[in-house]
Amino acid sequence: MNYFFNEQQEMVRSLARRIAEEKVLPRRAELDESEEFPWDIIREMAAADLFRVFIPEKYDGLGGGTLDLCLVVEELSRACSGVAICYAATALGAIPIIEHGTEAQKQKYLPDIAAGKRLTGFALTESGAGSDAAAIRTQAVKDVDGYSITGTKQFITNGGEAEIYTVIAITDRAKGIRGASAFIVEKGAEGFTFGKKEKKMGIRASATRELIFKNCRVPPENLLGREGFGFIITMKTLDRSRPGVAAQALGIAQGALEAAVDYSSQRHQFGHPISAIQAVQHILANMATDVEAARSLLYAACHTIDSGSKDFTEESAMAKVFASDVAMRVTTDAAQVFGGAGYMRDYPIEKMMRDAKITQIYEGANQVLRNAIALDLLKRKGRRQ
């Protein structure tokens, strides 16, 4: 399939693939086993300017769009989505600053993010607030010289490793979700510590920690947008970042497909490679068709976003839901093609299956996103009547 990338996108894609194959692939199994944060690879990616891809040119970035970002995430995920998510989560944490930051906030943070000097994280989820984001309890109390934040965020990707966090906290409980605000909080701020590092099923090279705020001091200039805009910023940020999860899922699926095709031609049973068996061929054909369909939907959603569309909740949700379901199905089928070997940790397939699962869960569980898609559908029907 020809997706008509521009010159920069071709460049970004080929370099990301090279890094994935030369730097990530040789360390994939070891990082999965040790659960070590891949700082050395992050530095390689920074030196190659990959963190500049999603930052506007004015702030030392390359001004690439959502598609450019997704190409990097897809290529990295094809090798290891645990490494890829450290990169993608930094884009997620940067989006609120790019989209809603003041000029001063952008000047202060974006050049460092572009250079890969500082990673970022996005902190919304709490123990009592997952899909029900409006149930967050972390509170920001305004006082004479800024805000005082208290509460605990849970399951924060890049937690502890990142230095810049966008944190969603309630500034006016009486207003419900319209009382939430977004803040930039830096690692090292007074009253800001980290909880334990989570032990995860997959994407184990990435770090997931609690963020603990106890009367954490945040200066007034670190408020993103205006008070009460926290929930809108969250929704708009996730609409923009979700294609990244789709790209992660797509990369995992692509990696699993390639591994399954290779294995099926090496593995001999009944006197011939198993790829000669039609039952196996059909599994592979379905996997390939699913992967390409997910890719087409994702790239189309990216083009919609990059063309300046204002509302793309539906497109972005569809791409994420579809690609993540494809990733789960394709990795499961790849394990079937691998047979017993696929169940063994010496082969990469079981890791891909474990990695795929999270893409159906985070940045909006697929069921919640289906609600959003249905809501848009029914709204349109309402308007027609």
């Binding site: 460049m11 370099l15 890094i19 030369e22 030196a47 190659a48 300017d49 390359l62």
Partner: protein, 261 residues
Amino acid sequence: MNFLVCIKQVPGTTQVKIDPKTNTLVREGVESIINPFDAYAIEEGVRLKERASGTCTVLTMGPPQAEQALRDAVSVGADNAILISDRAFAGSDTWATAQVLATAVSKVKDFDLVICGRQSIDGDTGQVAPEMAEKLCLPFVSYVSKVEEIKPGYIRVQRLVEDGHEVVECPLPAVISVTKEINTPRLPSLRGMMKAKSLKPTVWTNQDLQVPADKVGVAGSATRVVKIFFPQRTRKSAMITGTPEEQVDKLVAKLKETKLI
């Protein structure tokens, strides 16, 4: 401080074919790459200019398509590129090539150190760097595996020798050739790739260099390739039969006979 790196574009494969009529390499259909040893020279040039603040200029002599090698060098951090290209240079051996490169290097004038790879993987002679240094009347250190110290007018390096390394001090400007132990070449950066894409290298022909006609090309070459051939591989085999004990005796006798033991 300013650094000059001399590189060569070579066929990106070890499966080289030789044209039996001309005794030269068949380059059609073979991907060209930067000579792998030169990649270490580029990396060292870029690291030194970052360390000693200055510029890194890469130059190559070759056909017009050698421009790609210069682009690749710029994508990993070289600042400027010079392509030395003229039909008159075709057929140059190491001696004539060194003459052209030396003329080009002296035309650059403002440099502190010339860095080369230890040898090319196609010609494999390792002669061009020392010959060029000789023609430039500059000191030369080969097989450099580490630059310990560099400052204007002075460099201290380690050079690999068979059973260890030597530490050599040398005034600048000088010429060095580097080994693969010296560094790990970096991957290109996106900014570098973009710069490389729009790069227009300075092109010098013999109009610019004015190397006398009898010093370049075939006429200026001290050597002439008479014949290039693949070595004939001959293989003889003999089956040793008998009981295991007899086989061992026969094998040992055979090995002694051929003076292998």
